[in-house]
């Protein structure tokens, strides 16, 4: 059940340009499923910030978040230290239905700050015995993170916008070259990337996860809606019905 908890920061590390990895201690860690987020309160900020879960260690009762400095909120979050406490609402939102799906081969496609939730997903898929192929896109070499971690789970390909690492270009360029035979794809990243990926993989079954500026984060304020493909006058809430959606379910704007 969704709960507000004051939890301790176990570690706080810079892992790439403007990118931080924070491990948090919580009795609810094992409740967090791949794709879900936590809603974090920050000192001197009116609104909480949604941050997706990048990993869970059920034994240790910890979970990991990875975020990039994007605005004032994430800048503030980057200044916390191990030993500090964070006021967090969790678990929030929908998740990738790893348990329910039948599949042998999954394609993971992540862009920038959309990469973290896909790590926890890829790990869960691998544990289920699914073959995982990963394609990740970053701005430049300095922004790349988690490459080795993904490599341990399966073949991993990197693209950078400026070509300073991996292939120069976009994740879609790598997908074209690979044209892998897959059962499902799973994608998270900036909207233009999601649009390109869902178009390219229109024939495949897939799930995407979305981001939006949030108010409540729990489904009451209608700040975070996304229109539905089958009827654009209807919408779903990213914080409650999402952030994970079936790829053809919503209109990406």
């Amino acid at each position: 059940m969704i709960t507000k908890q004051l939890i301790e920061i176990k570690s706080h590390l810079r892992i790439a340009e403007d990118t931080f990895e924070v491990v948090l201690q919580s009795t609810l860690a094992r409740e967090l499923k791949p794709g879900q987020f936590v809603h974090v309160a920050l000192k001197n900020h009116m609104l909480r910030r949604p941050v997706s879960v990048a990993n869970v260690d059920a034994e240790a009762e910890t979970f990991t978040i990875v975020f990039k400095i994007f605005g004032e909120g994430t800048k503030s979050l980057s200044r916390y230290q191990a030993g500090d406490h964070l006021d967090v609402i969790l678990p929030c939102g929908s998740y990738y239905p790893v348990e329910e799906l039948e599949l042998d081969h999954a394609l993971i496609v992540g862009g920038g700050i959309g990469v973290p939730p896909l790590y926890y997903l890829a790990k869960s898929l691998k544990e289920k015995g699914v073959k995982v192929t990963t394609v990740l896109g970053f701005q430049s070499k300095a922004h790349v993170f988690y490459e080795e971690k993904f490599q341990l789970l399966g073949d991993t390909y990197i693209a950078t916008n400026d070509g300073t690492y991996g292939k120069k270009g976009f994740v879609t360029d790598i997908i074209s070259e690979l044209s892998p035979t897959i059962d499902y794809y799973f994608s998270c990243g900036p909207t233009p990337m999601l649009q390109a990926v869902t178009n390219q993989l229109a024939e495949q079954k897939g799930y995407i996860s979305l981001e939006e500026r949030m108010g409540c984060g729990v489904g009451t304020c209608y700040a975070c809606v996304v229109p539905l493909k089958e009827d654009p006058t209807q919408s779903k809430k990213i914080c409650k019905d999402g952030p994970v959606f079936y790829a053809n379910e919503v209109i990406l704007t």
């Binding site: 507000k4 309160a41 009116m46 939006e212 409540c216 009451t220």
Partner: protein, 304 residues
């Protein structure tokens, strides 16, 4: 400590209720605490038909507050009566419905539909939404229009009518008088103040609607001043709101002349904001020399 307070048609176990639009229809927050703890609940706006609302982004954080331009998204009054309000039946707390519209006819239609619901105790007439092109704030900034819509809704309603005032006016007392003359049973104040925030990198307003309504602690002094002015001029029950985070803030509204208070934006920061304020209120009242909520109402006025 006696926390009770009375408003027309409502006798409240305590003066604290969530504000419209900041609590949905209660379901989500019922996961965090027992809604029966609340003095009352004001639910999200209802319009005649379902509304989609504005494009996103719809919210932005500001210094000590936030902007929102939701645009009155709601499933329409009939769906609200059928699918949302019954959930609140199981809680021992009165529900106030928030009525919105683009025309006087729509306001009256929504009001009449709500007459058929047994699940509410009063309506809050929202003539102050700054985020819709038609209606909304236009009714809340023109005293003649405000009078007309209040009169028509009051005629149509079986329930007490609280008119929610907009702060986007130069003289709040004129507006308060206009709706009081038209038969309002009480006032609810204030709604959000129109604002804007521009993203420096993108060189454009953050909110897709460009402007949004400012809420949160940033607006509290304005809300306090307006409640004070209206209390000075009129003898009408007031639900005060705007930037309440703590029990001290709630007491400040009582001193300014509010008979009860509503908590909006604070729910987003802290889902337990309302019960925590209720829990703290006895201590704060006592600290400042009051034996009850009733005793504190209006006590901030220097000339009595």
């Amino acid at each position: 400590m006696n926390l009770t307070t009375t408003l027309p048609g409502l006798s409240l176990k305590n003066p604290v209720m969530p504000a419209s639009g900041c609590f949905g229809f209660g379901k989500e927050y019922s996961q965090f605490y027992d809604l029966s703890d609340l003095g009352a609940i004001i639910v999200k706006a209802a319009t005649g038909q379902a509304r989609y609302g504005n494009p996103t982004p719809r919210v932005a954080e500001t210094t000590s507050g936030m902007l929102n331009a939701i645009g009155l998204q709601n499933p329409g009054v009939d769906a609200i009566i059928k699918e949302e309000l019954p959930f609140l039946r199981s809680y021992d707390t009165p529900v106030i419905a928030n009525v919105a519209g683009s025309t006087v006819e729509e306001y009256v239609q929504v009001t009449k539909a709500l007459n058929h619901s047994q699940d509410i105790a009063a309506i809050e007439l929202n003539i102050s939404c700054p985020n819709v092109k038609e209606g909304g704030v236009q009714f809340g900034t023109d005293p003649e229009l405000a009078k007309e819509v209040t009169y028509q809704v009051k005629q149509a309603s079986n329930y007490p009518v609280y008119v929610k005032l907009s702060p986007n006016v130069s003289n709040i007392v004129t507006m308060a008088k206009a709706v009081t003359d038209a038969g309002a049973d009480g006032l609810s104040m204030i709604n959000t103040l129109t604002g804007m925030q521009i993203n420096l990198k993108q060189r454009k307003p953050i909110i897709a609607n460009k402007t949004g309504g400012l809420s949160g602690p940033a607006i509290k002094p304005i809300a306090i001043r307006m409640v004070y002015e209206v209390r000075q001029a009129l003898d009408i029950p007031i639900i005060g709101m705007g930037g309440i985070i703590t029990a001290e803030d709630a007491l400040e509204f009582l001193l300014a002349g509010a008979n009860a208070v509503a908590v909006g934006t604070a729910n987003f920061q802290n889902p337990l904001a309302c019960p925590e304020i209720i829990q703290e209120l006895p201590r704060v009242l006592e600290q400042y020399g009051f034996q009850s909520v009733e005793e504190a109402i209006g006590k901030g006025h220097v000339n009595g």
